[in-house]
Subunit: 304 residues, 2 copies
């Protein structure tokens, strides 16, 4: 196997874009007839979630490098939801996509190790290529993830500057002239630098929101060995221009996530008119292509 | 139904102690013959985890008010592990125990709502009476949990000052003369105060480690409406005396968690000698009684 970030860079180069498709299934947004199911029947809903996510994967597998299932929506359905998550991860990998499980896990010591063991590596129970991780518990909670990831050629993305307004409560606190997110970023950069692969990026990546382009630029300069997972494009207000600072001069160094704006494109007027509900997968592919075009026009991604 | 903290206080008064039993199953620590299973067979291991946890529950159901399954160990096993977690939660509640699911979840906006919906309330997919939650994502990530908890008479415990040494990386940063954990504590206290039940404690509780007795005392004074979940007793080094500051004058205001020190008591020399491996449940009950005695001797718990 090859280190996760090296595999990611190779796949991004192959598809010539850094779009990450977020798999956030919600029952009330599913296209007909997938959405026609009794909401109280969790097993039936879970089955529809898996069908929908596999349908999205079919639509984007030849267009993008990576997908990001959001664990919360699967967990909402209990054990059948977790089986649907597992099915979704495996299906994406069969289609040659990398998979970041967005679960924002963390705990201390051997419990952190149990989460790392659960989520990281294709032979693990959930089989993720990478996992999002929360930093509040500190350095000894992050290190087990890096260690397990190193053994399994997997990666992590640590929350640094999140895309939501409330993130500022802690993240923007200024300590010794430096915001807290920069301090977390510096720590993550240390982990990344110590584990750099051939591509120049290390095992530990960072989550940095597109909704804060100034901070994105600041963190890109501060964290040259750290690959970014950038949420907040589209529905949350982030634009292609806002994402420009996330990339290095070669158009690498970041994946830009879009969930609702791609997977539920069938309900956006422009795509709905063109494709109708029945061709929802064509709407997904069209929205993905449109996002790729925007990023290629406004950022160094055009150099890929 | 009754608000979670009111139910918790009523149960603590009924059993006259605040011991919380942490259900952290680990294959290599299970008593024989439960531990004799192929580690690669996740479904078989998950079944043993459920059997073991139900056995612990049988041993402590008449002694304590509350248990805390640790999600990580169940997640390690994939979907069968998650079914074992669900079985464990339901079994504990059948035995009249309250259940905090220790999953340290969080995310933004509607995703936070999905986690809250998943874990909070006995009719939810996982059926927790309460859930542990991480604060790094800020206020708008915590509020959905409080709102869902209010509707379902459930509770949350937000990480404030954790029991591990590495917690200091962020939590001990001093801002305007105040450590970050106190700032998080002040925010949680605001949520708790706004949602106080008959017992005087609100929907939002806090996780504060027994390993930092000075900070525990400081936070108790700062957070009078906030119920504490105190980890770190026993294996991590916290003593009954260290926990004293967590309680109010009536012996209320905190639950003290013990995982390994109780559930794996059969492997501690003192209990092993007395009970042998076969009577591991008697060792669990004896270790629980010993912890209760220590807390009653060293803290206001003796007044319950």
């Amino acid at each position: 196997m090859t280190a996760f970030m090296d595999r990611l860079v190779a796949r991004i180069r192959a598809v010539r874009n850094p779009v990450m498709v977020g798999l956030d299934p919600r029952l009330d947004s599913l296209p007909d007839p997938l959405g026609n199911v009794n909401p109280a029947d969790r097993a039936a809903v879970a089955d529809r979630y898996a069908q929908f996510c596999c349908g999205v994967i079919d639509a984007v597998a030849n267009l993008v490098a990576i997908v990001k299932p959001q664990a919360a929506f699967f967990e909402q359905l209990g054990p059948p939801g977790m089986s649907a998550l597992q099915r979704t991860v495996a299906y994406a990998q069969d289609r040659n996509l990398l998979v970041v499980i967005d679960a924002k896990r963390n705990d201390i010591g051997t419990t952190a190790q149990a989460y790392a063991d659960a989520f990281l590596g294709r032979a693990s129970a959930w089989g993720g290529d990478a996992l999002t991780v929360s930093p509040y518990l500190g350095d000894d909670s992050l290190e087990p993830f890096v260690q397990v990831a190193a053994k399994r050629d997997a990666g992590i993305f640590v929350l640094v500057k999140t895309s939501n307004p409330g993130g500022k409560l802690l993240q923007d606190i200024v300590v010794d002239g430096q915001p807290l997110y920069a301090r977390v970023g510096t720590f993550v950069e240390g982990l990344a630098k110590a584990s750099r692969g051939d591509c120049g990026y290390g095992i530990a990546g960072a989550v940095v929101g597109a909704t804060y382009p100034h901070e994105l630029k600041e963190l890109r300069a501060l964290m040259p060995s750290t690959f970014f997972l950038v949420p907040g494009f589209g529905a949350q207000g982030g634009t292609a221009k806002d994402c420009a600072a996330a990339f290095d001069e070669h158009g690498l160094g970041a994946v830009i996530n879009n969930s609702r704006g791609i997977i539920f494109a069938h309900s956006q007027p422009a795509y709905a008119q063109k494709f109708g509900a029945a061709r929802w997968q064509d709407a997904v592919a069209a929205a993905t292509r449109d996002m790729i075009d925007k990023l290629r026009a406004e950022t160094t991604v055009g150099r890929l």
